[in-house]
């Protein structure tokens, strides 16, 4: 029908609708049936919110993205306390919400969603008076979404539609063959673009800040990296962390385990970002970045026994409080467990030296190769105004198998100590055989087995290391990456076996070790006493054994009359709230106080420094 022709009778054709039934949907009785499997509104309609209060971690990302400021994070006490989550939950003001669904798309734990409910009207009550008129109406529409609409789900976001960048930026890493025949650092670190891309993923929710023992302001320095301002980011890091190079490589990253992005994808690589920030700034630049701290000249002098991470961090913080600090270190160089406990492929020399050199440049005097004995301790006690003991756990525990100290059974720490010496060619060679057995399941055990693998590759050209641990795969204390990377480097791992006794060959040197099945590692109230069952046995041939089953503290240098006054609890010193040992002028920090990892060492160093400062003013 040509639509340009004028015709008088054409409009009457529309009277045919008198006979057809109308298209009206009589709403309260009928409902819309356009969608295949659902009646009424569409299957992915953006209606009123629902929120799973258990799954939600109160990270506040929805509050940041809301274009109308409708979402407020409010503290609730009927919410269950959970590790790595705040008690805040989103409260939505429907007098502001524009139903855009951005909060659902950006939700880090996909606990927030939008239902297909749309009806919500509010008749103003007749008795609404003057000052409550506006308030009553808008207060009715402020609702904390919970699960009552979740049965009628509408707009939900799964991982491929989420607005968060869930995949980590892949960091350059040497492939197994390359890395296993040298002690070079296995991880190449971020380039500038990669770091910015990785920093871009952080939603600045602040959960990591509460989880970190030293409460580093992580969102701040990641934002600085994103704004390509490395100076600002290093300034932010040094506010709370004196050893960023070390932490940047070997920290047990409690922050990443609690990162909100980790719930749906991979958490932000906070440790590698810290490492990138500190690596890309030369040592000389540190001066003008951090020097602006006030130096109060208290004139007091503090002695720190033990130059490990805890000692160094206490020295760093005390130097800013204007104390004269001297550190007594029994080894040739400061660094403690960081230097001699952790192999070079995870923490290279220059990184550690950079941190220590900066602390030295703050005026801290480090006396190396000075082993403290009882009367030295007496002299120091009189000479200095305060003493901080941070000697750490450096005596290796040993199973009582090697009856008379056979020469091929070695403790973990001395072995790693010799490896570190050999690498900085202080000593000519490390005693290694072609078939080595490592006992233990912690990070230290894996360090030993991977170091052995490298040495064997260098010496014999082939790797033959077996590692035996008591624990089963799910409760093994080492990190996940350690287990994967060591498997790639040729270390065979056997779970759930306890050592029984060494087998000697006729000439008296070691031929193998006899193992028995370990039923359970911890007893009912979680204390460590393994139970074995004799009749299940396993024989492994090896010509050398390294025991990496834990370390013990060495308090021999403390004179008897002080040691009696201190309280010990399972090898650790018990301290009061400002970290003093009960004896006037003596404080303690590091592994001997709390926690196996380095970041706890730094935390205890900081608190010890505060304790000292409080003592004097």
């Amino acid at each position: 029908m040509d639509y340009k022709k004028k015709s008088f009778f054409a409009p009457f054709n529309s009277l045919k609708y008198l006979l057809k039934d109308p298209v009206t949907i009589r709403y309260p009785k009928e409902n819309k049936k356009t969608y295949p499997e659902v009646e009424g509104v569409s299957p992915q309609y953006r209606g009123r919110h629902f929120n799973d209060l258990e799954k939600c971690i109160g990270c506040g990302t929805c509050e940041d993205i809301c274009p109308t400021g409708a979402i407020q994070m409010v503290e609730f006490d009927d919410v269950k306390e959970k590790n790595g989550a705040t008690k805040k939950r989103p409260v939505i003001d429907y007098g502001r919400c524009c139903f855009c669904g951005f909060c659902v798309d950006v939700c880090t734990t996909s606990s927030l969603g939008m239902s297909r409910e749309y009806v919500n009207n509010f008749p103003t009550p007749p008795e609404a008076t003057e000052d409550t008129q506006g308030e009553i109406i808008s207060k009715y529409f402020i609702i904390r979404p919970d699960l009552n609409f979740s049965k009628n789900q509408g707009w939900i976001t799964d991982n491929n539609y989420s607005w968060l960048e869930l995949k980590r930026v892949v960091m350059g890493i040497f492939n197994p063959e390359e890395r296993s025949n040298s002690f070079l650092e296995i991880v190449k670190g971020y380039t500038k673009e990669e770091a910015i891309l990785e920093a871009r993923r952080c939603v600045a929710c602040g959960l990591c800040k509460d989880a970190c023992p030293i409460h580093m302001d992580i969102p701040e320095y990641i934002m600085a990296i994103f704004n390509d301002d490395v100076k600002e980011s290093v300034k932010e890091i040094y506010k709370t962390n004196p050893l960023p190079e070390v932490c940047g490589r070997v920290c047990t990253h409690k922050c990443e385990s609690v990162c909100s992005l980790g719930h749906r994808g991979e958490p932000v690589a906070i440790r590698w970002l810290k490492r990138y920030a500190v690596d890309s700034l030369p040592l000389e630049e540190y001066k003008n970045v951090i020097a602006n701290k006030p130096i109060k000249q208290a004139g007091k002098s503090v002695a720190i026994i033990g130059g490990g991470p805890a000692g160094l961090s206490a020295a760093y913080f005390l130097s800013f409080m204007g104390y004269r600090i001297t550190i007594f270190e029994k080894e040739a160089k400061a660094g403690g467990i960081a230097r001699y406990g952790i192999p070079a492929y995870r923490l290279p020399e220059d990184a550690l030296n950079k941190d220590i050199d900066f602390i030295k440049s703050l005026g801290v005097e480090i006396k190396t190769n000075t082993n403290i004995d009882k009367n030295m301790f007496e002299k120091i006690y009189k000479e200095y105004d305060a003493i901080i003991i941070s000697t750490g756990f450096d005596l290796p525990r040993s199973t009582n198998l090697s009856r008379n100290g056979m020469e091929n059974v070695v403790g973990a720490l001395p072995f790693l100590h010799d490896v570190r010496e050999f690498l900085s060619n202080k000593i000519s060679d490390v005693k290694i055989t072609d078939n080595v057995l490592v006992i233990g399941g912690g990070n230290v055990a894996f360090d030993c087995s991977r170091s052995v693998a490298r040495l064997q590759k260098m010496k014999f050209g082939k790797v033959k290391v077996t590692q035996v641990c008591l624990e089963t795969p799910d409760i093994i204390p080492a990190d996940k990456e350690e287990i994967e990377e060591s498997a790639e480097e040729g270390v065979t791992l056997i779970y759930g076996m306890g050592p029984k006794e060494i087998i000697l060959d006729d000439k008296g040197n070691i031929k193998g070790l006899d193992f028995m099945k370990c039923e359970s590692v911890f007893d009912e109230n979680m204390r460590f006493n393994p139970k074995f069952n004799e009749n299940e046995r396993l024989i492994c041939e090896a010509t050398m054994i390294i025991e990496a089953i834990g370390q013990a503290p060495d308090y021999s240098f403390i004179p008897e009359e002080y040691r009696s006054k201190m309280k010990f609890e399972r090898g650790k010193i018990v301290l009061d709230e400002n970290y003093s040992t009960g004896i006037e002028k003596i404080f303690a920090a590091g592994d001997i106080v709390k926690g196996p990892d380095i970041v706890n060492g730094i935390a205890t160093g900081l608190n010890a420094a505060k304790g000292v400062d409080k003592l004097f003013n």
Binding site: T24, Y27, Y94, R96, F99, P123, T124, I137
Partner: protein, 186 residues
């Protein structure tokens, strides 16, 4: 400031019977004040057909008895809405559509959109939604009819009782001699 009288404002007796007829034939004023007006034509026309409830658009405020504030209200149109509201005859009702009249909606930080309609004219029913859909509007109308029937839709009586308070709010927004930010508070 005891501007607000606490007289009992509920409808009783004969008015209750008239309310039965008033509820069945609500005439809506054909004035689209904001963006919510895009959802009114579908409600009026044949897909959702609000004429089944006896409601139809009326051209002038004199004839209408239901004023729909559809969405945000800028200052200039607030002045026209107040004129329109005062031209309408009692009993008259106001429905606030969408989230903007409730607490500012997406324009909460705009310099020309009011945040709370209830300060300037009495609101009988607020319907939530960033543009409520026709079904939500019809649910709102049914709720208003129930409200009129049991005599609680008394916005217009509240306006008469507390005229000074409303006039003071309106003047504080419309008649300003002094700049808001730099000048001193009038």
């Amino acid at each position: 400031m005891e501007l607000y009288s606490t007289k009992k404002l509920k409808d009783e007796g004969f008015e209750q019977i008239l309310n039965f007829f008033r509820k069945k034939s609500l005439w809506m004023l054909h004035y689209c004040t904001g963006c919510g007006a895009v959802e009114l034509p579908p409600t009026m026309t044949s897909r959702w057909d609000m004429e089944r409830f006896g409601m139809g658009p009326m051209a002038t405020p004199r004839q209408a008895d239901l004023l729909l504030i559809t969405g945000y209200l800028s200052l200039k149109s607030l002045k026209r809405v107040i004129y329109t509201y005062e031209q309408m005859q009692n009993p008259k009702w106001v429905i606030a559509l969408g989230s903007c009249p409730i607490n500012g909606g997406i324009y909460y930080d705009s310099y020309s959109v009011i945040n709370r309609l209830a300060l300037y004219i009495p609101v009988d029913l607020s319907i939530e939604g960033c543009m409520p859909r026709p079904e939500a509007i019809i649910e709102g109308f049914i709720k208003l009819m129930k409200q009129i029937e049991n005599g609680e839709a008394v916005g217009y009586k509240k306006y008469q009782e507390n005229y000074k308070w409303y006039k003071q709010n309106q003047d504080s927004v419309l008649k300003r001699e002094f700049p808001v930010l730099s000048g001193e508070e009038k």
